[in-house]
């Protein structure tokens, strides 16, 4: 395809030098295609015209164009390398570095602030816990005082009550004992009366003795 197309091109007399170059090109094309042998003859024609438009070789493989291309590649790429390594890249690198240090500094400052906040929160929580403990202590103290007061009052009341109970019991016992002493008298009188009714008069002493005997 390349060869065909190229032959076509070569036959086209496009500019003033075309006819001559094309003539030479035609002759070459019969025997060889893309890699047409750049013989000295063809070469000379090419260079003399300074226009490779119709030279015999596939343009990218035309050695006649190599020196100029290499020269300008060296100039342009060399210039690019120098501009990049001396100017553009250090500048962009500097911008990026500068931004990075700034962001790092900001992050560090933010971190410091955060730590400060954390410390403040911790201090607040410690104070809160302390206050809570103090409040609990006061509450406990009050409760204990109230309980002690309550207990003492209750024990006082209990002691009072039990003393009253024991006094009442003593009185009851006394009354009972008193009553029991009267029982003998009543029994003697009753017995005297009963015996008096049945037998007649008996001395009170003997009745009392009899009652004591029965009771005994």
């Amino acid at each position: 395809m390349v060869t065909q197309a190229y032959a076509q091109e070569a036959e086209l007399p496009a500019d003033d030098h075309g006819t001559e170059a094309a003539g030479a090109a035609d002759a070459m094309h019969v025997e060889e295609g893309v890699h047409a042998d750049p013989t000295a003859d063809t070469h000379a024609t090419t260079e003399a015209h300074g226009d490779e438009a119709h030279s015999d070789v596939f343009p990218p493989f035309d050695p006649a164009t190599f020196p100029s291309q290499l020269l300008w590649l060296a100039i342009s790429f060399g210039a690019l390398y120098i501009l990049m390594s001396k100017l553009a890249l250090p500048r962009i690198g500097g911008i990026l570095e500068n931004r990075k240090t700034l962001i790092d500094a900001d992050l560090a400052a933010a971190d410091a602030d955060r730590q400060k906040t954390d410390a403040a929160i911790a201090a607040y929580e410690a104070a809160l816990a302390e206050a809570k403990a103090k409040a609990q202590g006061i509450a406990n103290q009050n409760r204990e005082a109230i309980q002690a007061d309550l207990a003492s009052k209750r024990s006082a009341a209990e002691a009072d009550l039990s003393s009253k109970v024991s006094a009442a019991e003593a009185r009851i016992a006394q009354t009972k004992a008193e009553a029991l002493t009267h029982v003998d008298e009543i029994a003697a009188e009753t017995a005297q009366a009963v015996v008096g009714q049945l037998v007649g008069d008996v001395p009170a002493d003997s009745v009392r003795a009899a009652v004591a005997k029965v009771k005994g």
Binding site: M1, A48, P60, W72, F77
Partner: protein
């Protein structure tokens, strides 16, 4: 007028002649250097890259403008490529890789503009660039590692009796690097541009030969050419990337020769 010839776009024409080295003073003898259309686009490529990078970063803004951000992204992209393939020690070659990548990328993109010349469609240019890499690798490899650089051809952990087979293979693969590197770029760009021209040429020929019916039929090759244009933009970018990545990997061999 080039017509539908797909090769015409690669023809190098002199814009003005500079000087002649050697020869006997007669017409056609010696080596003539000239400012050609290729040279014009090399200079344009370099001027565009340098102009863009220097103008966009001239503000040195902390919060970048769009253009500055693009320049920074380009920088970080290539820097990341060098760092990941060749390590931090490879960063001394960062300007080289960056220049290669941007030069090839911008040259390829310039080549996609109609009537513009594609610098990278000439084997001598791609070969010169790949030889630059190759020679840099060899020179730096020997300067930094001395004879240890030859360990590159003797992979570690390979049993001695296989070495007579492996070492020649390694040497051949090393020597073929500049060829594969240059032919890959050259071939991709050349073939892509020829294909584009052939398909658009079909359209022109159909219209010329078939008249009204030709206009209708020409839609097909035009659609193909549109799709191929998109593909060629991709190929242009990918080939620049591939060239840069392989450069990094070859430089990595020079920095750390034992595999």
């Amino acid at each position: 007028m080039a017509g539908t010839d797909p090769i015409h776009q690669f023809v190098i024409t002199d814009i003005f002649e500079l000087f002649t080295l050697g020869g006997d003073g007669t017409e056609g003898s010696g080596t003539t250097f000239a400012f050609t259309n290729s040279a014009l686009f090399m200079v344009l490529t370099v001027a565009t890259i340098a102009g863009f990078l220097l103008l966009s970063t001239s503000g040195k803004k902390l919060i970048p403008t769009r253009a500055q951000l693009t320049a920074e992204l380009l920088y970080e992209f290539v820097a990341g490529m060098v760092r990941s393939s060749a390590g931090t020690a490879g960063m001394k070659f960062f300007p080289l890789v960056f220049s290669l990548f941007t030069f090839i990328l911008f040259a390829n993109m310039f080549g996609m503009v109609p009537y513009f010349f594609t610098v990278t469609s000439h084997i001598i240019v791609t070969f010169a660039l790949s030889m630059l890499v190759f020679i840099t690798v060899i020179v730096y490899g020997f300067v930094k590692n001395g004879p240890k650089f030859l360990k590159l051809f003797v992979p570690a952990g390979v049993p001695g009796y296989i070495l007579p087979i492996v070492t020649p293979i390694e040497v051949i693969s090393f020597l073929s690097r500049p060829i594969s590197l240059s032919v890959r770029l050259f071939g991709n760009i050349l073939a892509g541009h020829i294909t584009l021209k052939v398909f658009t040429g079909f359209a022109v020929m159909m219209i010329a030969a078939l008249g009204a019916f030709g206009w209708a039929a020409a839609i097909l090759p035009i659609l193909m050419a549109i799709a191929l244009t998109g593909l060629e933009f991709l190929v242009g970018a990918v080939q620049a990337y591939v060239f840069a990545v392989l450069t990094c990997m070859y430089l990595n061999d020079a920095i750390h020769p034992s595999h």
